[in-house]
Symmetry: C2
Subunit: 354 residues, 2 copies
C-alpha cells in the first residue's frame, strides 16, 4: 500500500541522514532536506509509527530519532544499492598488489591498509588458513646441531616453515632420507595422517630416522590443525576516533579498542561468519558484547576456488553500508584474483571470481 511506501521513504531518509551527520534526525530536517512533499507534522506521525514498529529510537523525549539496529537490517536487506567502486579501486589496488607477490604476510598487510584507506574504518584481514589443505612438498634444512627447518608447500603453493628441535643431531643423509620418505608417503594425502599408512613403509628407515619422521609429522599436525595459524591482522584501529559517537565516549572507545586488540575475539568474530558472499552483521548480530555498538562487514577470499581467509571492516553501526559492502566485495575479488595469479595454479578446482 502507498502508505507503507511513504513510511519507508521517510525511514530511508532518516537512515541516510543519520549515517551522514551522526545527529538525531528531526521531522523538520526531513521536510527541508528531502522533499517528500508532506509536512513535518505528517512526518512526525509516521515517525511515531516507525518508532512503535521498532525502527527508530529516541535518545530522549524531545530529541530527533535515531535508526535502530532493526532499521539498519531493513536498510541492508531492502534498500542497499550497489556502488561502483571500481573507479576508485582499480588503479590503486592493482598497481599496489603488483609489487607484492608471494609474501602472503605482506599482501595481507597491504590489503588491510587499502581497506582502511578506502573506508575510513578499522579493517581486519585473516591470513590464509591452511588447515585441511593438501601437502605437495616437504623439505628439511639443517640449521645446526639438533635444529632443523621444516618447509612445507601445499597444493595451493602456500609455503609454511617451522623450526623443529630434534633430540639428537642428524646427519644430512638422514634428513634426506626422511624428506624423501615423507614426500613419497604424503604426496596427495590429506594432512590427516594415519599411523597405519606409515607403518607399512616406515620400516625401510633406521630407528633414528623414524624418530625424526614422527617429530616432523607432529610439527606438521600442529601447523595444519592449529586455529592459531590463521592470524587476524588489523589496520587503522585509530580510525574510530573519526566518529563522534566514539570520540565523545571514552568507555565506548576503550571497549572497542580492547576488543580489537584481542586475537581471540577477532578470530572468533571471523569464525562465526556464515554467509557465503558478503556478510553484514549489525550491532548485536555479530555476537560479541564488546562490539555491540559496531557493525562488521566481511567476506571470504579464496585460493584456487577454496575459501581460505576473511577480510572485513568494523565500525559504528552508523556506517555507509552501500559503499562498504561494495568495497569489500570488490576487494575480495581483487585479492582472490591476485592470489590465484601469483600463488595459485593448482588444478584442484576452477577459479571463481571475475
Amino acid at each position: 500500500m502507498k502508505n507503507n511506501d511513504r513510511k519507508f521513504d521517510i525511514l530511508y531518509s532518516i537512515i541516510r541522514d543519520y549515517i551522514k551527520t551522526a545527529e538525531p534526525v528531526g521531522s523538520r530536517t526531513i521536510e527541508r532536506k528531502y522533499n517528500i512533499g508532506i509536512s513535518s507534522a505528517t512526518i512526525r506521525n509516521e515517525m511515531a509509527d516507525l518508532e512503535e514498529m521498532g525502527y527508530l529510537v529516541q535518545p530522549y523525549t524531545s530529541a530527533g530519532r535515531i535508526p535502530s539496529d532493526k532499521a539498519y537490517r531493513l536498510y541492508v536487506d531492502r534498500f542497499m544499492k550497489k556502488v561502483d567502486v571500481d573507479s576508485y579501486i582499480k588503479e590503486d589496488v592493482r598497481s599496489l598488489y603488483r609489487h607484492y607477490f608471494g609474501e602472503l604476510e605482506e599482501v595481507m598487510n597491504k590489503t588491510a591498509q587499502i581497506l582502511t584507506k578506502l573506508t575510513n574504518l578499522t579493517s581486519l584481514v585473516s591470513t590464509p588458513n591452511i588447515s585441511g589443505l593438501n601437502i605437495k612438498d616437504i623439505h628439511l634444512i639443517h640449521i645446526e646441531d639438533e635444529r632443523v627447518l621444516l618447509v612445507v608447500i601445499t597444493e595451493q603453493r602456500i609455503v609454511k616453515s617451522a623450526e623443529i628441535r630434534l633430540t639428537g643431531t642428524p646427519t644430512d643423509e638422514m634428513l634426506e632420507h626422511v624428506a624423501n620418505f615423507l614426500n613419497l608417503s604424503i604426496k596427495d594425502m590429506m594432512t590427516e595422517f594415519r599411523a597405519s599408512d606409515f607403518a607399512s613403509r616406515v620400516d625401510a628407515l633406521t630407528p633414528g630416522e623414524q624418530k625424526i619422521v614422527s617429530e616432523v609429522v607432529n610439527t606438521i599436525k600442529v601447523i595444519f590443525n592449529s586455529e592459531e595459524d590463521s592470524r587476524v591482522i588489523s589496520n587503522g584501529v585509530t580510525e574510530i576516533f573519526r566518529y563522534p559517537e566514539f570520540r565523545n565516549d571514552m568507555d565506548r572507545t576503550k571497549s572497542f579498542l580492547e576488543a580489537i586488540h584481542r586475537q581471540d575475539l577477532l578470530s572468533y568474530l571471523f569464525s562465526t561468519v556464515q554467509d557465503d558472499s558478503v556478510s553484514v552483521r549489525i550491532g548485536e548480530e555479530n555476537g560479541m558484547e564488546e562490539l555491540s555498538n559496531c557493525s562488521v562487514i566481511s567476506a571470504t577470499y579464496k585460493i584456487n576456488g577454496r575459501p581460505v581467509g576473511t577480510i572485513g571492516v568494523v565500525g559504528p553501526t552508523r556506517m555507509d553500508y552501500d559503499y562498504c559492502v561494495s568495497v569489500i566485495e570488490t576487494l575480495t575479488n581483487e585479492l582472490t584474483n591476485h592470489l590465484d595469479e601469483t600463488i595459485g595454479g593448482g588444478k584442484e578446482s576452477d577459479t571463481s571470481g571475475r
Copy 2:
C-alpha cells in the same frame, strides 16, 4: 648543605606521591603522609623554591604541585633504587620461554606480553635486526615454476626466508649449482657483496644460473639491508586506559594510540636509543612530539654478544621508574640468555649477561 637535602627529600616525596596517585600534591599531604618533621608552611616555602628551580609545576594557582620532566630526570639520575624483581620474574619468565625456542616471532611476542603483564604499560619489542650479520648458509627450494624460496642462515643461526620470483623456470640442477656456488662464495663473507669477488668465480656457471645468482643476491641485499626488516611489536596498547591522565583526556589518548600504531614512529623511537644499558627517556627527551607526555624505558638485547634488538615500555611520565627499569634490565638479560641458549652458539664473541 642540610638545607638542600631537605628540599630534595620533599621533592622525592612529591614525586613518589604523584606517581602513586596522579593527583597534584599539596604541602599538607606531604606533612601528613611523609613525616619529614617540618610544618606545611615550611614545606610550602620549599615547594615555592623547587618550583622556581623548575622541578615542580602548578597546574593552576591554588592546586598542589606536579613534578616536571626535569624532576623525573633528577629522580632517575639520583634517587632511583634497584628493585629486586627476580622473585616476580624468574619462575614465570623462564618457564614461559622454555616452550618457545627457535620461532623468533613467537619469542618476541611472548616477551612483549610478559613486559606488559609485569609493568601494566604498553610494551614494545623489536624483532632482531639482521643487517650486518654474516651469512653461514644459503638454501634454495623450488616452489613451482619461477617461484623459489630462499632460506638464509646467519652465523648467529637466525633463519630468514623470502620468496624470489625468477624470470624463467629453473631446473633443480640449476638451483643446486647456484646454491653451491653461493655457499662457497659467501662463506665467511660480509653481507656486503662486492661484484668483483664474484666475477672471478661466476664464470663457471651458465648464463641462466648467473641470472639466478644475481636475483638471489639482490634479494639477500634487500633482506639484510632494509630497516623494514626489524619490525617493532607492541603489546598492551590499551593499558593506557589505566591511567587517569589519559583516561580523562581523549585527545591525549588519541595521539598516544595513533603514535603507537605507526611502525615508522616506533622504529624511529628505537633507532634513537643511545644508551648502552637501560635507557630512560622522559617526556620530550624521546624526541617525538606525539609521545611528549610519555616516558620510554628501553634496552638492547643481544645474540652472541651482538646487540640485535630493543625491548621497552612506554607510559605516562608518571611511571614507576625504579620498578620498570629493573624489569627491563632483568628481562633483557633473560631474553639475551634465552636467545644464546636456543639459537646462539656461534663463536663470534663471548656471551655477556649473567
